[in-house]
């Protein structure tokens, strides 16, 4: 098992390298002279020249790539053009916000989605199944920004229960932090719950038709245990895959929710960076997302080993 984990980690190195090169190439793929683009309209030739030098754009391509990778290895992604910060510190400052949001959202999504999916599968074709799947469908098909706005109108404006915007760091207390994030987290979760519920349901339907479920019943196992111990455990691989995927979506896909709720997270940083043509920052966030995807993938693979004996041995 340890060997498999090591193997999996080693496998990730070339992928991470490719992501780094892609992030670098982003700058080169821009039509025209990136320095001119970045400087914006009406920039003086001196300003353009300055940017060019700062970003090493006057050097040969291979040399530029070498420098970029070397700096990257040292944890240096350059400086933002617009913010008075290095890219690393700009991202590091906002990452806790996005991670908090994603974590709370995931904590809501996983139990709710699994519950809904398992119940729907067990009560297949009954009204309970129909209701559960209708809820899931609404979650998946209604646009997130629309739910976000409705939610703010109801819970923040009309009822005044929750803050409508802003972030409170965890260091200022658990409750204020949770209060600030709970509404956007639920809004984010609604889509993911629907997605997870549908995937869980179909995985459960497959398993419930298997012979070993009949064996369990023939032994006198009661239905709730048949459902959770005998059936659900066999869907864990499928469920884990979806949860891993959802987690990466949550980190990357919180752009809209962070915008609506004015949360200073990475999602907002990306939007800001793109709008202001802050390319070093775009590169940095791209790199971050790539790394997170890869990390989540590795984590999912390792969890497979824990939940499924067949993977463990082969």
């Amino acid at each position: 098992m340890l060997r498999l984990i090591t193997f999996r980690l080693a496998h990730a190195v070339p992928i991470l390298l490719i992501i780094a090169v892609l992030a670098f190439l982003l700058m080169q793929l821009l039509p025209g002279d990136p320095a001119v683009l970045m400087a914006g309209e009406g920039a003086t030739p001196q300003a353009i020249q300055e940017i060019r030098q700062r970003l090493n754009l006057d050097q040969p391509l291979v040399r530029q790539l070498g420098t970029w990778l070397l700096h990257l290895a040292q944890g240096d992604l350059g400086s933002s053009l617009q913010l008075n910060q290095t890219v690393v510190s700009a991202v590091a400052e906002r990452l806790p916000v996005s991670l908090s949001l994603a974590a709370i959202s995931l904590l809501i999504t996983v139990p709710a989605g699994i519950m809904l999916g398992v119940v729907a599968a067990y009560a297949r074709d009954s009204w309970l199944d129909a209701v559960a799947m209708a809820v899931a469908l609404i979650g998946v098909s209604v646009p997130t920004f629309w739910i976000a706005i409705l939610s703010v109108i109801l819970f923040s404006v009309t009822l005044g229960w929750l803050p409508s915007a802003g972030y409170v760091p965890l260091s200022e207390g658990f409750v204020p932090w949770l209060l600030a994030l709970i509404q956007p987290a639920i809004v984010l979760a609604l889509f993911q719950i629907g997605f997870l519920a549908r995937m869980t349901r179909s995985a459960m339907l497959d398993v419930l038709d298997q012979d070993f479920i009949r064996t369990a019943r023939a032994k006198g196992v009661v239905e709730s245990v048949v459902l959770w111990k005998h059936a659900f455990r066999n869907t864990l691989i499928a469920v884990l895959t979806v949860v891993g995927y959802i987690f990466s979506l949550l980190i990357g896909g919180s752009v809209i929710v962070e915008q609506v709720f004015a949360l200073p997270g990475v999602g907002r940083l990306v939007v800001q960076a793109v709008l202001t043509r802050d390319y070093p920052l775009v590169q940095g966030t791209l790199l971050l997302f790539g790394f997170i995807f890869v990390l989540i993938n590795i984590a999912t693979d390792i969890l497979y080993l824990i939940v499924d004996p067949r993977v463990r041995y082969d």
Partner: protein, 333 residues
């Protein structure tokens, strides 16, 4: 319920939902099982053997199945009417079942020890450690070598024969009074088949169980059972105790099955088969269900659905012409 039987199935009719209609899979099945008896059920694929067996523990898919009529009496209670909690108590502890495909009948994510031990924990209230210790003993009993190591393993590490042994260990864990074995060796190769059947016979004697052994193999049935029911198209068509059925089959379908047994002594070019196939349950033929394939069919066989005829000596048949001939012979002598 007669005192001498541990299980009595009477008038059992089971229907399945298919495309909005209810299709009758088995009709009016009567079977009895005496203590320590081994009842064999034989018949072609699709004749209703599994449907009959699964009815005893009500293991059919609940939503698409309907037990239209019948009773299954076990110790004076109708299993078709007992509450779910009581049924769960009987399942696995008093009546146990093993299935045709050992490859898919074990849970792939639970260890063998866990799966055997679960039965003991449910029905005997053992804790995990005691259940596991007892599981080792059970694996020894079904002759799995190196049982202590095997309990910690997962099913995919075992061969088909070994898995069927695990299924048997699981089934006998609580010393059930009845063991239902639905084609326990069909999926296994021949040498393993004999081992499993011998094991089942030994365990039956050791534990004093009654066994229902389902097979489509006449050879297996003749060797291992002491009472035989032949099923065709959802009905029992002939019943006999002992070797009577092989010496003088009282139904043309049984005769056909016997002719189809491969025989090493007899040198034949081609194995005899019964021409035609089982009629579709959704469009059941009128009259005797076997008449389209029967070489002895009379005009009356096409129109009149025959009832079970008692021939005495625990012999029964659904073939009136053969019963009549037998009666004539009996009358003359």
């Amino acid at each position: 319920m007669s005192e001498s039987n541990i299980l009595e199935i009477s008038g059992l009719t089971v229907e399945f939902r298919s495309g909005g209609r209810w299709i009758t899979a088995i009709r009016d099945v009567d079977l009895t099982l005496a203590p320590r008896q081994c009842l064999g059920i034989v018949g072609e694929s699709g004749s209703g053997k599994s449907v009959t067996a699964l009815s005893i523990l009500r293991l059919h898919p609940a939503k698409s199945t309907r037990i239209a009529s019948g009773r299954i009496l076990y110790q004076g209670r109708d299993l078709l009417a007992v509450a779910p909690g009581e049924l769960a108590r009987i399942r696995g502890s008093e009546i146990a079942m093993i299935f045709q495909d050992p490859m898919s009948s074990l849970n792939p994510v639970l260890t063998i020890g866990e799966q055997i031990g679960e039965t003991l924990r449910i029905h005997q209230g053992l804790n995990r450690a005691d259940a596991l210790a007892k599981a080792v003993g059970l694996l020894d009993m079904v002759r799995i070598p190196d049982a202590r190591r095997r309990v910690a393993e997962y099913p995919h590490r075992l061969s088909g024969g070994m898995r069927q042994r695990v299924m048997i260990a699981m089934a006998i864990a609580c010393r059930p009074k009845i063991l239902i074995a639905d084609e326990p060796t069909t999926a296994l190769d021949v040498t393993v088949q004999a081992q499993i059947l011998n094991l089942l016979r030994d365990l039956r004697e050791e534990l004093g169980m009654s066994v229902i052994l389902i097979s489509h193999d006449m050879g297996v049935i003749s060797e291992f059972t002491d009472k035989i029911a032949v099923m065709y198209a959802g009905q029992v068509v002939e019943q006999a105790v002992g070797d009577g059925l092989f010496d003088a089959p009282m139904h043309p379908y049984t005769s056909g099955l016997l002719r189809a047994i491969p025989n090493i002594d007899r040198d034949v070019d081609r194995l005899a088969t019964i021409p035609g196939s089982i009629p579709d349950a959704a469009r059941m033929v009128p009259g005797c269900r076997f008449h389209p394939r029967c070489p002895e069919a009379l005009e009356s066989c096409r129109s009149e659905a025959p009832a079970m005829i008692d021939l005495g000596g625990l012999r029964q048949t659904r073939c009136p012409p053969r019963a009549e001939r037998q009666g004539m012979i009996g009358g003359r002598s």
